[in-house]
Amino acid sequence: MNDLDAYRAAARDWLRSQLPAFGREAQAGLSELDHLALGKRYQRAKFDAGYAGINWDPEFGGQGLSPLHKVIFEQEEMACGMPSGYYGVSLGISVPVVMKFAQDRAWAKERVLAALKGDEIWCQLFSEPSGGSDLAGARTKAEPDGNGWKLNGQKLWTTYAQFSDYGVILARNDPTVPKHKGLTFFWLDMHAPGVTVRPIKLAAGDNHVNEVFFDDVKLTDGQRLSPVGGGFGTAMATLMIERYSASDPAGFGPALDLFIDLARNSEVNGRPAIEDGRIRSAIARTYAMRSGLEAITTRAMRMMAAGMEPGPEGSLNKLVSVRSRQKLSELAIDLMGNVGLAWDVHASGKDDWVASWLAAPTGRIAGGADEMLLNTIAERILGLPQDHRPDKGVPFNQIPA
């Protein structure tokens, strides 16, 4: 067994030992706040066991291992259904930015450690009512105010803002220059005066996203994470810091085995569903697609282990897997017929077809809509032209609304 296999085996053993305390059964029936508390205890348990900040600098409380170790742990963790979701954005996006760009290094160290221990949660304030895909079109204003800044405006779809202690935010400091050049990146205290968070109930019945309002929120210049006007470049760079993370070929929906079980135990027009050509075709096609995504991930991990840079094909996982999960969930509900009309609002999208189907559209929009991902593949990987963009080079305040 090589080091990585040993690491995986140890991670698996540890996760199994934590299942009674944190697994799906421990989460069943908890209120929102109790579930959050469980999630915080789980993060602390990870920290104590050396599974937090796996690939981060030990000086900041990390373990100093490779991104590959982190991905291996995430793969094993995902299979266990642990309550790690509250820290996805916090430790996956926001805190690495603070670690890299915060001006006050001692303060940054304190925050990173508190975040790794699960005591503090960070959100990322990017999308706005006027646009999510068009990130550089942000309208939230950061105006000079004494020695610091004053924030006004609104963010939207902010994941776990209601539980967050801090956030990183992209705001417009100069509307008279083209849109990419007038943005600055800051961190802020989510408990500061003038910050209002309102959860938004989504179609699947859950409340993990929010709208966040800023009403004369004061920031010091020490909270700036980018050069003035250089926020967009910093925002893009930060997306690369933690670019290796575990992906789920099932698109964060149920495993194919569950569909096969359902087909084994159902009939279609009086004949076993597992013998129905339409069902068999869906199983075969879904398997072929998911095994391809798995092979892409495995190959990328082997390349990382060999010190090589994985290819860009890792970027197609979310695009392909989530829309496939959406269709498979529809077919599963078809198979269940009238029985499939039941809805358990607390069911998990990883093992319940209705929950999976209801939340699937969110997956196709959040973190890069399908259409944006196709644009990225076309433009960045294949070298096809950019779309026609009437706002290109136009000062932000002169772009036709």
């Binding site: 068999r280 495995t298 082997r302 644009n375 593949i377 032209p385």
Partner: protein, 364 residues
């Protein structure tokens, strides 16, 4: 586990690509389409000269001792150039069956000749539309074969055929020399594949293996050939994706490159997803030869490669507009090859069912 190509394998990939780029001419390939019974001899002599015919056979039988991974790499280059002769795959399949049958005299007689490319073989499994019928109509008894095999690739020119047949009520594999066998040429939409309807009429043949062992070997051999063909399909699909990309970047309409229209660029981006999934499945399947999960890995490779090549052919022609459907433009070489390869080694309907049987247990 999926593999990352090593330096030697990368060298095979770039060298086979380079040679085929230099030697393939679309005018020659187009002419073949209208000539039944001919195949691309330039390709075959290249394959012989480069040792591609010997790649996956053991060294003691005149081979190079490499495997499915390397054969797949060459097949991918072949597919990219719509090059190829059908023996590239069927010689490997027939040779593998001969080796697995353990019949030393036949191995000694044919393997070195297959490895050198001096002899060619066909694999005659399919009957009707069934790639591997559970009870083949072709029968072997008293050292002789009787029955028909339609549309067998390579068969117009091959020296020998491995035949899926019935022997004493059980499936079997037999080896026949084709010299005296009735071969009716099929005028095909992809003529270079040398399709023939074979008619065995008391043809002398040798029994290779019978019963459950024959079924297992036939499935394994078909899966191996399907993995080779999947690489060929992958090569074709990827080549088309780049052809579509290059055309969309240069062809202008309404004052801009057509690739700036999302209806076009997204279509090409979707091809990228299909190509990369097929590639990952192909590489993975080739690395699983001889393992318990080889059949499902091969089926996944086959299904995703067929989908990638068919879709790429459809969409690349569409993106080209009128020029895409001209004879001289030659895109139909890919379109034709996409469909002929989708049928050789079993259609998607066969592989879907086989895969679900592997995943869910055979449906009772």
């Amino acid at each position: 586990m999926s593999i990352v190509y090593d330096e030697a394998q990368q060298a095979i990939a770039s060298e086979s690509r380079r040679i085929l780029d230099a030697r393939m001419e679309s005018a020659r390939l187009l002419a073949l389409l209208e000539r039944t019974g001919e195949f691309d001899r330039v390709f075959w002599s290249t394959a012989v000269e480069q040792g591609w015919t010997a790649l996956a056979f053991p060294e003691e039988h005149g081979g190079l001792g490499l495997g499915l991974v390397e054969l797949g790499i060459v097949a991918q280059a072949t597919g990219a150039a719509t090059a190829g002769a059908p023996f590239q795959t069927s010689n490997y399949g027939a040779g593998h069956i001969l080796l697995a049958s353990g019949q030393a005299d036949l191995v000694g007689q044919w393997l070195p000749r297959l490895a050198s490319g001096e002899a060619t073989a066909a694999v005659a499994f399919a009957e009707g539309n069934a790639p591997l019928p559970p009870r083949p109509g072709c029968a072997f008894a008293g050292g002789r074969l009787a029955g028909a095999k339609p549309g067998v690739a390579s068969a117009l020119a091959a020296d020998i055929a491995v035949v899926w047949c019935l022997h004493e009520g059980r499936p079997a594999l037999a080896l026949a020399e084709l010299a005296g066998v009735s071969r009716r040429a099929v005028d095909s939409f992809d003529n270079g594949r040398l399709y023939a309807d074979l008619g065995f009429d008391g043809t002398q043949a040798r029994l290779l293996v019978a019963g459950e062992a024959a079924s297992e070997l036939a499935r394994d051999a078909l899966a191996r050939m399907a993995v080779v063909t999947a690489h060929e399909q992958l090569g074709g699909a990827e080549a088309l994706m780049f052809i579509a990309r290059d055309y969309a970047n240069t062809r202008r309409a309404f004052g801009q490159p057509i690739g700036a229209f999302q209806s076009v660029k997204h279509r090409i981006a979707e091809l990228y997803t299909l190509v990369e999934i097929a590639r990952a499945n192909c590489i993975h399947a080739a690395s699983r030869e001889g393992r318990p999960d080889f059949l499902s890995a091969a089926a996944a490779a086959r299904l995703s490669a067929t989908e990638a090549y068919d879709t790429a052919a459809r969409d690349t022609v569409q993106i080209h507009g009128g020029i895409g459907v001209t004879w001289e433009g030659g895109l139909h070489l890919h379109m034709r090859r996409a469909r002929s390869l989708a049928i050789e080694q079993g259609n998607a309907l066969f592989w879907e069912d086989l895969l679900v049987d592997e995943l869910a247990g055979a449906a009772a």
